[in-house]
């Protein structure tokens, strides 16, 4: 029995198997927006937040912060001070594609979650920040949102309850850094997306200096489930300390890549089997369990490891966004790391020197090794560079760039050494 319980008979709730669920009438036909109506009529805002806390839901955007707790950080309502919710749909972490599938197949679950969150924190407007690359999905969301306004599910006197809430779509334009919450706020304000120093945290001073809460798409989509089926039901799914359904985005050298919905706490080996095993019956070499920023795991490190915050931390990695990349035995880890370093160099916003310069030097050094012109001491120089970058910048991008470099070199050192020129003393001997 794994932490995920009886997952073979698990019934999907985030992406239930219903045809055309993305249409408003189909969603309503399956009990959609009933939970919202009940919440608005029967529950006090504090009770909603209390239920979210009891469910044990942890944010699905990568950091894994408890959602109910985050909601409770919002200051008391002041009549003249607006407050905002931001939904972070700027999903740009390499290897992560779950939010796009959720917006494609079940956008109304997200909208319902947004409205419940608005009610719980007593606010009137949510900005839904979608990355610019998802232009097609933004069009779809706009269409469905227009239908919702027509049906009086959002806007003035929504559902006849006297509440007024708005959902406003914001289209990004291609910057990985906008996934960081403070730079997302800068971007919303129509500036270059430079992250801000925390504190003050968004709940004190967010967009335009007003109290703001920022949640991921999948996190908000869990709210109607928790309020509809009960916090205890939710807390009973999957791993104890990190419960709930989870969208696993599986990619790489597997036979059936794609997004899978299962409880948290699935064994990695089970997930590999579900995804059809390795392509061409090759052996697994490495696994990135949660997007590019998390430390990579060697094949011998995944035995018995489950996909939840605790278990992955013990194994020496992180859950991140649960975007899993499986790599087979033929994978060139130097080429892998070179591409990761290129990504961070390209996406560093340029605000802080250690990150702007450091990511560039990382890419240069790894490129040199990949081209066969690296020296052994370059590996130690890279590790030193990681130390110099980590924790020395405004946001966590520098850390996110340093972790994969450090861990890939440490865990696959032989691969790197083989590509380097031999040390001078070895030649002399």
């Amino acid at each position: 029995m794994t932490k995920a319980g009886n997952w073979q008979s698990y019934e999907r709730v985030l992406l239930p198997p219903v045809e055309n669920l993305h249409h408003l009438d189909v969603y309503r036909g399956h009990g959609g927006y009933e939970t919202l109506k009940r919440v608005l009529e029967e529950l006090e805002p504090q009770e909603v937040t209390a239920q979210m806390k009891r469910s044990g839901l942890r944010g699905r955007g990568g950091a894994g912060f408890p959602t109910g707790l985050k909601w409770s950080f919002m200051p008391p309502v002041k009549p003249d001070v607006p407050r905002y919710l931001c939904c972070n749909a700027d999903e740009s972490e390499p290897g992560t594609f779950k939010d796009r599938q959720l917006m494609e197949y079940n956008p109304h679950l997200l909208f319902e979650g947004i409205l419940i969150a608005c009610y719980a924190m007593s606010l009137n407007a949510c900005y839904l920040y979608v990355r610019g690359e998802y232009a097609s999905w933004i069009t779809h969301l706009e269409e469905e949102l227009a239908k919702m306004y027509d049906a009086n599910l959002v806007g003035e006197n929504m559902l006849g309850t006297g509440h007024c809430m708005d959902i406003i779509l914001h289209k990004g334009a291609g910057a990985y850094i906008c996934g960081e919450e403070t730079s997302l706020m800068e971007s919303l304000e129509g500036k270059r997306a430079y992250p801000r120093i925390k504190p003050p945290f968004p709940a004190q001073s967010g967009i335009w200096g007003y109290p703001t809460t920022i949640n991921n798409v999948e996190t908000l989509a869990c709210a109607p489930l928790i309020l509809g089926k009960g916090a205890d039901w939710y807390a009973g799914i999957g791993a104890e300390k990190n419960p709930g359904p989870l969208l696993y985005g599986i990619s790489g050298h597997v036979n059936r890549p794609g997004v899978y919905e299962y409880p948290t706490g699935m064994l990695i080996t089970d997930l590999l089997e579900i995804a059809g095993g390795m392509r061409g019956n090759k052996k697994l070499k490495a696994l990135v369990p949660g997007g590019a920023s998390v430390p990579v795991l060697r094949a011998d490190m995944i035995e018995g490891v489950t996909m939840d915050v605790e278990s992955l931390r013990e194994a020496g990695s992180m859950l991140g966004t649960a975007g899993m990349l499986f790599l087979d035995e033929d994978t060139d880890m130097v080429a892998f790391l070179r591409r990761v370093a290129h990504f961070y160099h390209h996406e560093s916003c340029g605000q802080c020197t250690p990150c702007r310069e450091g990511t560039g030097w990382m890419e240069n050094l790894i490129t040199r090794i990949d081209d066969g012109e690296g020296n052994l001491r370059d590996l130690d120089l890279l590790l030193d560079l990681c130390d110099q970058m980590e924790g020395r910048t405004v946001c966590a991008l520098a850390d996110a760039a340093a972790w994969p470099v450090r861990n890939t070199i440490q865990r696959f050192r032989e691969d790197f050494e083989r590509r380097c020129r031999p040390a001078v003393w070895a030649v002399n001997a």
């Binding site: 999907r12 992406l15 198997p17 219903v18 045809e19 055309n20 669920l21 993305h22 607006p82 999903e91 740009s92 972490e93 390499p94 290897g95 992560t96 594609f97 939010d99 796009r100 599938q101 494609e104 197949y105 990355r131 610019g132 690359e133 998802y134 097609s136 708005d166 406003i168 914001h170 289209k171 990004g172 334009a173 910057a175 971007s187 919303l188 304000e189 129509g190 500036k191 335009w208 985005g249 990619s251 790489g252 050298h253 036979n255 059936r256 890549p257 794609g258 997004v259 059809g276 061409g280 990135v288 590019a292 990349l325 790599l327 994978t331 080429a335 892998f336 591409r339 990504f343 996406e347």
Partner: protein, 224 residues
Amino acid sequence: MADFIRNPVVALPDPNPESHFSEEELIFTEDEKARIAGWVSQYPTSDGAVMWTLWLAQEKFGFLPPEVLQLVAVELSLPYAQVYGVATFYTQYFKEKKGTFVLDVCTCFSCQFCGGYDILAYLEEKLEVKRGHTSACGRYTLQEAECLGACGSAPMMQVNNGPYAHNLTPEKIDELLEAMEAGKPLPFVSVTLPQDEDEMGGNRRTDAEAVEGYITPPRSERTQ
């Protein structure tokens, strides 16, 4: 004066650049002004609408040279420097003229190991254009993109900042280019979830063209 100020190593931008558009062209119509006003009303200040307005301007003019940025700045009553700052920060705003078709091929790690670079090389060869450049005929701009969020259907690319094309193979690219040359708009394609296939026997969206998410070994593997 220091020598590097008189003789800068990097060429400074022309202080009076030639405009790409005539004065009659360089306006927003009433209809567009209404849309911009609609976006402005959604934010506490007009700053928030700058990204939407730049998108509109790029759709209208094709790219964002200084005179278009100036137009956006005037329309939103913002300093030119701020609009310039935003337009140059984000990769999807084009600062120079691009081809009729802009092909963004994803080569980030999931696509890299599923043949993204094979696809890029194939396109370079076929269109006779290097990555990051526009072909001599002015039809195609080929770009290497960072993760586009479709790792389950790698390798993939995005066309003109719009539709995605999944599970690319050389044959599929030939078909796509043919359709594009014939002026057919690319359809919205929905990638089937593996679980949907098991439980529902296919894709749940009936308004989209469905593709299976898992059929393409990279070219290098196939040719062996």
